[in-house]
Structure formats: structure tokens, C-alpha cells
Amino acid sequence: MENMDDTSGSSFEDMGEMHQRMKEEEEVAAEAAATEDDATTDGEFLGMKGLKGQLGRQVADEVWQAGKRQASRAFNLYANIDILRPYFDVEPVQVLLTCVLPVQKIAGELYGPLMLVFTLVAILLHGMKTSGTVIREGTLMGTAIGTCFGYWLGVSAFIYFLAYLVNAQITMLQMLSLLGYGLFGPCIVLLITYNIHFHFLFYGLWLLLGGLSTLRMVAALLSRTVGQTPRLLLCGMLALLHMLFLLYLHFNYHAIVEGLLDSLEGPNMASMQRVARDVPEVTLNATARIPGTLLRIR
């Protein structure tokens, strides 16, 4: 693919050049058609009408070839998945290790994060089905995919924007990768707590596994930011959003087992209020910000 030889910049920067080349090709084809037309009129003038049909076919062929070439160039430009190929160049062991261990050098690859997001979608579907959530305008699948991908892409973009404001040395790809791998903890937590419904267990796992994955992301960000206030802003924001997301996923879609309702809900409601009292305006903002579908929150 000749237009993918130089992958150093975005291929969209070559779009102007591509358009130019396509226009020139169009003009060349039009010229060729025009000269063919002239030859045809010459033929008519000279009385060789019998062969005009063949010339007409040649002209049509030429125009068709030119059109096909343009279409395939446009297709290669826009539907070219080779742009993403370098980001999937990983080994399985590498993915597994990056899921679990803290790393300073953020792997700039998208396979692990993408697979983790899909795993989270599957776990979320399971949670929604077991809790009997009814979505009236939309599908369970659409909500699950929208929530998980929306979180991954949206929060990555937001933190990248904040990092850009405070001059932190992180690229969008690294941020996507970091947040994607940071979803490993929530995956495990939700897998366990969608099946075993003990609130204390959830809170413990939320703090432990959620906290560990958040700490990993925060550590990677800390080493790339200078200054106390920027660090506080960036890392605090990321920690808050990550922990709140796990909390939201659990409490929106978890089933209340009948027998445990009375015994567990009492003290746990109090502890929920304690959490809310600490950071009232942020909790409110978070729940207000999350796009709502019509869900029965049990």
C-alpha cells in the first residue's frame, strides 16, 4: 500500500495530498476521455461509423478503471485497519504480566485494554441479568457496551486533557493503555460480588483490589508529573473517578437476596451515608454526571 509507507505521522495529514492526487487522476482520465471523444468524432467525420461502438466501449472502460482506482484509494485511506496494527504487537505473557504487576514504563498497546473492556462488558451483562434489570429504551447489551466503552474512552480523554493542562508527559495511547489495564481490578471485584452478595465483602474488595489498581495508575502518573498541585489534581481526579465507577457498577446492578435484605441493609445504609457525608458535592456530581437510562435501582 503505497500510501502507508510513511506511518510516522497520521495518515490523515496526507489526506490533502491524496485529494490532490485524486483530482489530478480525474483530470487525466477526463483528458483521456476527451481525446478519445475527439478520435471518435474524427472517425465519424471520416465515415468509419462501424468501429465507433468499440471506441465507445474503450472509453467506458477507461472511465470505469479510473473510477475504480479512485474508489479503492478512498477505501484504503479510510477503512485501513493497518493504522492500528502496531498497537496490537504483543505477546500473551506480556499482557498477563501487565495486568497484574505495576509498571513504570507504560506499554503502548491496545490489545490488553480492549480485551479487558470486553471482559468487563461480559461481566456487567451477567450482573444485569442476575439482578433482573429492565431497560425500556434500549438493550442490555447496548447499555453494557456504552457504559464500559464510555468510561474507558471518556475518562481517558478527560484525564489526558487534564494532563495536557498541567504539562504531564503522557500520550493519549499511554492513557488509554493505563486506564484499560486499570480495569483488571474492577473486573475481578465485580466477578466475585455479582455472584456472592455480601456488602462487607464488596467494600473490602473495593478498597483492596480497586485501591490497588488505582494506586498502580496513580504511581505511573506521579512519575510523569511535576509540581504538587498538578499531581494532586491529576491523581486525585483519576482515583476518584475510578473508585466511583466501581461503586456505581456494583450498586446499580446488584441483586438483593431476600433473606439478607433486613440483616445487611440496616448497618450498610448507615455506612453509605458516612461515605456520602465526606464528599457530598462530588458524589452528587458523579451520580448526576452518569448518563441515566431508566433503571430500576434495587
Partner: protein, 226 residues
């Protein structure tokens, strides 16, 4: 140079058309019938409809047999078709309907859900395996993944039959066994085709999304209750 000029203006040299007496002009002008002959060999417009349908049905049946006994065969990959996957997807979606307590508004979205899961899942797995450097083409991969849903569809039929007899622990155990077996069969069959087109140390990277895909479908079948 002169010949090229002559060729570019074919009628220029014929401005004076005159044939001298001592040049014998003879021969026969015959239009070559090659193209139409070629068309006849591949033209399937004139055959009876029964032949067309039977040929397609035989191809689909052949692929079903390949899924039952999965071994790598290039013939299966070369003649891909999407009839089988469509048939299986529609059957599965119809069988999975009506699985909720309040089924008056669940019929539509459930059908759409199965469709979305199957087709978008297949597309994403195909894109993933292409991005990882696979040599299989887009539609071939869709074809393989679609056909390998067959064991799960059979398991769904069996589950529905078992559920007719009640939904106790025994029926759950039977359904669990059947669904697990068919899930393993589906994954094994599709990786027999898909993973071969990958470099050897990356097979796990391709197998995991396939595993997740069939796991979601198997879990949907297992948790189905009429």
C-alpha cells in the same frame, strides 16, 4: 514512433482507401466466440432453480459436517458463505426468546441482542485476528465463527427439551454438562481454523476473544428459563 502515431490516430491512414489490383485481399472475417463460450461454462442463469438451491444447500451441509469433525481443510475456507451462520443465528435468537418473567416487552430486544452479540462479536474477533497478523480473510473468518455456533444451537435445542420436563437440580446439571461440552466443542472447532492462521506464539491472543464470545453465548443459553 511513426507506428505509435499511426496507432493513436487509427483512422488517419485510411483517409485514402483504395486497393490496388495486385494485392490479394482474401480471408474470412470471423468474430471470435471465446467470451460467450467462457460465459456458458460459469453461467448459472439458465439452470433450474432446484439445481441452484441444492448446490447451495449441499455446500452448507458440507460445512456443517466440517464443524462436527473439525480438521483444517482449505476447501472449507476457500468457499465461504454466510447462509449457515444466518440460519444458526436466527434459530438461536428464536429459541432464546421469551426467557423473562415479564415477556411482553422483552421479545424484541432479546432477538436483537442475540443478533448483535453474534455478528458484532464475530466482526470484532475477525478484526482482532487480522490486526494480530492473521492470514485469514474477513469473510472467511466470519464464516468460520458463524458455523461454529452450531454445537451451541444444538445445546439450546437440548436445553429447551430438558426444560420441558421441569427445572430442578437434575435438569440444571444436565443442561450444564451439555452446554459446557458444546461450548468446548465450538471453541475447539473455531480455533482449529482461526489459530492456524496466526504465528505460533500468538495463538492465545486470538483464542481468548473467541473463548469469551462463545462463553457469553453459552452462558445466555444456560441461564435461559422459559
Amino acid at each position: 514512433m511513426a507506428a505509435a502515431e499511426e496507432a493513436s490516430r487509427p483512422f488517419a491512414g485510411l483517409s485514402d482507401v483504395s486497393i490496388s489490383e495486385d494485392i490479394p485481399v482474401e480471408g474470412d472475417i470471423s468474430v471470435p466466440v471465446g467470451p460467450s463460450r467462457r460465459d456458458d461454462e460459469f453461467s448459472t442463469l439458465d439452470e433450474p432453480v432446484k439445481d441452484t438451491i441444492m448446490r447451495d444447500l449441499r455446500a452448507v451441509g458440507n460445512k456443517f459436517i466440517h464443524v462436527l469433525y473439525p480438521k483444517r481443510s482449505s476447501a472449507l475456507l476457500r468457499d465461504w458463505d454466510l447462509w449457515g451462520p444466518l440460519l444458526l443465528c436466527v434459530t438461536l435468537a428464536l429459541l432464546l426468546q421469551g426467557g423473562a418473567a415479564d415477556s411482553e416487552d422483552q421479545g424484541g430486544p432479546q432477538f436483537a441482542e442475540v443478533f448483535v452479540i453474534v455478528w458484532f462479536g464475530s466482526i470484532i474477533i475477525t478484526l482482532n485476528s487480522k490486526l494480530l497478523g492473521g492470514t485469514i480473510s474477513f469473510f472467511q473468518s466470519l464464516c468460520v465463527l458463524g458455523y461454529c455456533i452450531m454445537p451451541l444451537t444444538v445445546a439450546m435445542v437440548v436445553c429447551r427439551i430438558v426444560l420441558l420436563g421441569g427445572s430442578g437440580a437434575v435438569s440444571f446439571a444436565v443442561r450444564l454438562t451439555v452446554v459446557m461440552a458444546s461450548f468446548g466443542w465450538s471453541t475447539f472447532a473455531s480455533t482449529a481454523f482461526l489459530a492456524d492462521s496466526q504465528p505460533p506464539n500468538r495463538k492465545a491472543l486470538v483464542v481468548y476473544p473467541v473463548f469469551l464470545f462463545y462463553f457469553v453465548i453459552a452462558w445466555m443459553i444456560l441461564t435461559f428459563s422459559p
